[in-house]
Symmetry: C2
Subunit: 293 residues, 2 copies
C-alpha cells in the first residue's frame, strides 16, 4: 500500500461513486424516480409515521407530502390519521405497494449478485469480508463524542441501558440505589460532566467524570451500546474524559469496576490504569484502578 492513505480513500470514493450510480440507475431502471423509491422502501412492510419518514430521510415536509400524494395516486400506499395523536399521519403500503417494494428488494439483490457473480469463491469471501470491515470502520468514524446535559433524554436513556446491563451481568443483579450515586447536579461543570457518543443522532455510549476537590477525578458509567462495540469507542470515550480531566487540573483518576466486566478491565489496563487498594466501599466493585495524569 504505497499510496498515501488519503489518496487510497479518494480512489475508493471514486470507484464507489460510480458503482452507486449504477445501483441507482438499476433501482430507477423501471418504475419510480429515486425519491419515491427511497420513500417506498423506508415505509417498510409494517407502515410508518410520516414525521418519522421525514426525519429518517432528511426531507422537507412539503416534499414528502408531495411524494406521498404521488404514491397514493398510484395506489401504492394509504395514509390515515394516527389514533394516538390526531396531527400524526400513518402510511401503510397497499397490496400493490408491497409488490412494488418486493420488486425493489429483488433488484437490489440482483445488483448485489452481479457484483459477486464474476468472482470465484475465494474472491467472493474476501470481497465480503473487506466490505464488512470498511462498513464497520466507516460507521466507527461517524461516531461523535460531545458534552451532554445529564438531564437530557439521551443521557437518561444511556444510564438506563447501563444499569440494565449491569443487572444482567453481575451475579447478584444491580440496584442503582445501593451503588455510589452520581446525580444530575454532580454531573455539570465544574463538579463533573457527561460525555455522550452519538452515531447519526442515536446515542451509542456514555461516560461520566466526577471532579473532587483534592485534584482527584472519578470515572463512572462507561457504557457502549452493543451495536457499537469492537470499534474502539470505549477507549475513545475514556481518552476524551481524560482530556477533560487534565483541563480541570485533575492529577489522578480513580475508577472501580466489577469482576464480571472483563473487557472493561482489560481496556483500563491497556490505557495505563494501575490496580490499587480499594479507595471506597462501592458494594458492587471488585477492582479499583488509578491513573496519574
Amino acid at each position: 500500500m504505497e499510496l498515501p492513505l488519503v489518496e487510497q480513500v479518494r480512489s475508493f470514493n471514486r470507484t464507489m461513486t460510480e458503482r452507486i450510480g449504477v445501483l441507482n440507475d438499476h433501482f430507477l431502471g423501471r418504475n419510480h424516480p429515486l425519491g419515491e423509491a427511497r420513500l417506498l422502501w423506508e415505509i417498510g412492510e409494517h407502515g410508518a409515521e410520516v414525521r418519522e419518514l421525514r426525519s429518517r430521510l432528511g426531507l422537507d415536509s412539503a416534499y414528502v407530502s408531495r411524494l406521498l400524494r404521488s404514491l397514493e395516486g398510484q395506489g401504492l400506499i394509504v395514509v390515515e390519521t394516527s389514533g394516538n395523536d390526531g396531527r400524526v399521519r400513518i402510511v401503510q403500503l397497499t397490496e400493490a405497494g408491497l409488490r412494488e417494494r418486493a420488486e425493489l428488494d429483488h433488484r437490489a439483490d440482483v445488483f448485489a449478485q452481479s457484483l459477486l457473480e464474476p468472482l470465484n469463491e475465494s474472491q467472493r469471501l474476501k470481497l465480503v469480508a473487506a466490505m464488512a470491515q470498511v462498513e464497520r470502520l466507516l460507521i466507527a468514524s461517524q461516531i461523535t463524542i460531545a458534552l451532554a446535559d445529564p438531564k437530557s433524554s439521551d443521557v437518561i436513556w444511556c444510564f438506563e441501558q447501563y444499569f440494565a446491563e449491569l443487572g444482567k451481568r453481575f451475579e447478584a443483579g444491580f440496584d442503582p440505589a445501593r451503588s455510589i450515586s452520581a446525580h444530575a447536579h454532580e454531573l455539570m461543570p465544574p463538579s463533573g460532566l457527561v460525555l455522550l457518543a452519538h452515531m447519526r443522532e442515536n446515542p451509542v455510549g456514555c461516560g461520566v467524570l466526577k471532579i473532587h476537590e483534592n485534584a482527584v477525578g472519578e470515572i463512572k458509567r462507561m457504557w457502549v451500546a452493543p451495536q457499537a462495540r469492537g470499534l474502539g469507542l470505549g477507549r475513545r470515550l475514556l481518552e476524551a474524559l481524560e482530556l477533560h480531566a487534565r483541563e480541570a487540573r485533575v492529577a489522578v483518576l480513580h475508577l472501580e469496576t466489577n469482576r464480571s466486566l472483563i473487557e472493561a478491565i482489560q481496556m483500563y489496563q491497556g490505557c495505563g490504569y494501575q490496580e490499587v487498594e480499594a479507595f471506597n466501599d462501592e458494594p458492587y466493585a471488585h477492582h479499583w484502578f488509578e491513573k496519574r495524569l
Copy 2:
C-alpha cells in the same frame, strides 16, 4: 450464492450510498451543481476534447454543450476549435478554472481525511487496506470477457502488448516472425477465435483458441494487462476458452510456453494441464502442456 454474502453486499451498498451522498453535498456545498463540477474535474489540467468528455461522462451532447456554455460564462473555461479536425472542439481551463478545480480537489481531500480522522492509527491502516481490497475486487468483477474480431484495433493492441512483453521477458528477446503464426483469418470461427477482456471499454487481456481438424485445440496469446493482474483474470480467460473449445467438440487442448513465464505455467498446472512431450517445434517454447476436455 448463499444469501449472507448478498446481504452483506447490500448492507455495504446502503452505507456507501449514504457516504457518497455526503461526499456529493460536500462537493456541491459551495460553488457548482454536481454536473458542472464533474465536467470541470474531467476537463483536467491539460484540457480535453468535447467528444471525449461526452463519452467519458456518458452525457448527451446537448447537455454537455449547455454545461460548457455555463462554465464559459463563468470564465472557468475556454473552448476552441481543434487544429486537426474543424468539427472537434477543445476545452481548456482558464486560471480561474484551475483554481476552481484545485478547490474541488481540496474538498475531496478534506472529505477523505474526515473519514480517517476519528480513527486511531491501526484502524486507519485496516480501513485503507480493506478499501483497497474492495476496490480491487469490484474492479475485477467489472471485467467482461467476449469474443472479438481479430482485426479490431483492441485485439491488435493486445497482441502488440503481448509481443512486447515476451520481448522483455524472454532471455533472447522475441520476434513474432520466428514464432508459430496465428493470422487473422485463422482466428475467426470456425477455425479459431479471440477472446478479449475489457474493463470499462479498455482492453485488459486476451486469449486465442485455434481449432485443428483432429479435435485438437490450441491455446495461444494468453495475456493480461499489468493493471489487471492478481485478479484471477488469466484463469477466467482460460476457462472461457475451454468452454468455447468444448462447444466446438475439441477433445484435447494443447499449449506451449516459455520457461520465463512462471505464473502462467503455475496457472496452467492449476487448471489441470499436464506437461507432455513437445508436440511442435515452436522455437521459444520450453514446456508443452495438454488437457483432455
